[in-house]
Symmetry: C2
Amino acid sequence: MRDVVIIGVGMTRFGRFLDRSPQDLGREAIWNAIEDANIPLKQIQVAYVGNAVGAQLNELKGTIGQHVLTTAGIDSIPVTNVENACSSASSALRLAALEVASGNHDIALAVGVEKMYTGDTAKAAASMASGTPYAKYGFTFVAEYALNLRKWMRKYPAVKVEHFAKVVVKNSKNGSLNPYAQFRKPLSVEDVLHSRMVANPLTLYMCSGIGDGSAAAIVCTKKIARKYTSKPLIEVAACELLSGTYTYPDEAHEACSSRAAKQAYERAGIGPEDVNVAEVHDAMAPAELKLYEELGFCQEGESARMIDEGRTMINGTIPVNPSGGLAAKGHPVGATGLAQIAEIVWQLRGEAGDRQVSNPKVGLTQNQGGLVVGDNAACVVTILKK
Amino acid sequence: MRDVVIIGVGMTRFGRFLDRSPQDLGREAIWNAIEDANIPLKQIQVAYVGNAVGAQLNELKGTIGQHVLTTAGIDSIPVTNVENACSSASSALRLAALEVASGNHDIALAVGVEKMYTGDTAKAAASMASGTPYAKYGFTFVAEYALNLRKWMRKYPAVKVEHFAKVVVKNSKNGSLNPYAQFRKPLSVEDVLHSRMVANPLTLYMCSGIGDGSAAAIVCTKKIARKYTSKPLIEVAACELLSGTYTYPDEAHEACSSRAAKQAYERAGIGPEDVNVAEVHDAMAPAELKLYEELGFCQEGESARMIDEGRTMINGTIPVNPSGGLAAKGHPVGATGLAQIAEIVWQLRGEAGDRQVSNPKVGLTQNQGGLVVGDNAACVVTILKK
């Protein structure tokens, strides 16, 4: 298989844009990526478009990718719409990379787009609960997270709600430095702990909100990339997708994200100790702590100390979510995976402005989505190298 | 890229199954394909699942593929949900074939599933109109087909409504011979012409209905296939996806299906004259005539004579839709593309029973979906060889 590099990325600011369509959001992200890559629009040979809840919330309920692309001025190429819940965009990137790696096409586009603010917030919230047959019994994503957290806190009594709050404090501070972020107000531990309880122990500020936005990436071979750009090329060293197991409760069960990470490290020929910056799926803030362990950034049971010691802050040993993460940057679900990718590309190129991590060489993204009981339906771990 | 063969196919009967879930339909198709391939369930390494309108009609609104697969007993592999409207299943097959061709995986599963009967037929019909921003002005699929047909009939006055009826007569007869078909009553020209007018010149029996069903195919390399089965191996010689152009009205415009077919013939190293049997997307019966021309089975303006002379009947020179096509076999949209593939595999193996075409060596499927004004959003043309 051929080496694959990211030649350009782009995104919209994440936010609440009642007057904008998914087509318009997608167009902006694509044009930003096209401009970043310095590549003519007509060079795009194949595209994958991630979108999760458009069929439930938007007027356009199918073939959204084709409509986004024609709006951006791209047609007559192979276009496939991809849905893997909150990991739709990273699943789209995986396929764009496969097209190039395989030699099937030379230049591929991955787009993620989501439009959740429609004037009916309850409907948007309900759309997030619809990927599981158990939602009707109240077993929503938040409930699932809360239950798993309480189990985890019983196993590791050193883990306190204050640790969850510290994750939000870190990410809100990072988000305040990111012009693309939806929520830019830095929060204190007290702000987080005193915000409204959603599902014990999860308070409002520990949960990501709904949002509108789009992100895109263009991938190609190294040789082709050098025809268009002199910017640092970012190699896709691994992009591994796995579905979860349907085995709740099972103590021996290894989480989808942990298994996907192991596969990704093996494919990239590195270990977790080589990662200099990461964007992870903090749909609920405490999940970020769990991910420190599942991704191998620390040993099991050590994540609370990680956050206490500030090791995942922008100036820490392994900065996590310098963009602000889902909590602060926002979480338009079908766009999130590629927004993570855009952030890591900017970090590796040294273009991340006020939130720049010191000279990273290797970055990782972890993006998960959906729910089969006991695990996520899908998880994608991507490793990017400068 | 490596050669890819289909080692097994399976489907449910298409029909109205109010008491069955998409998960249960998908499970049946997968298990049938697994049995046909004689391959253990645990050998499946990667899966793509096509579904078009589930998020609008079904309780489970996301990650349907993961839920179908866990129901069938498959988890912990990369699973991606694919939506390209009525061409979702063939788009899933294309990706399964790319996984094997590229060497990324050795054994891949493609599934298409759709559950449209939910007790609310109006809602199901509305879901079919939701892939275009123009549906709210009454510009539905049927209206689009009807408008294009009238334009076509003006250009070729030899094309009469009786020709459209003859397509339905042929396909309903074929469907009456197919145990998987939803509608098994043979129709006469009078039945078709006297059925209710939907959008002039389209009468009810010229339009495909709604349906429930699933179909699946397993692809792998030839070498691996021979470890499991002694059945004839069916090579995927081409599987080409294209999106349409957004250029209505444009006389010089070349239809998506025509362009996809040319690409497929080139990739497979054959011409239309080499095709011995075809399954095409007769969502509206007259479209089948147009497709004879777009796929190169006859010259432009000659398709009416094709049907008059019976050349596309099961015993004709180029049998088209021996399964009964969308009109008679049924059209659970997200399953259709793989049901076409299953039919061609059975035909090439000589397993098609009462509807068997005489000793075909090369088969073609054409599956299209969605609507960008002036063209289909997506079209997949697949060429299979014994």
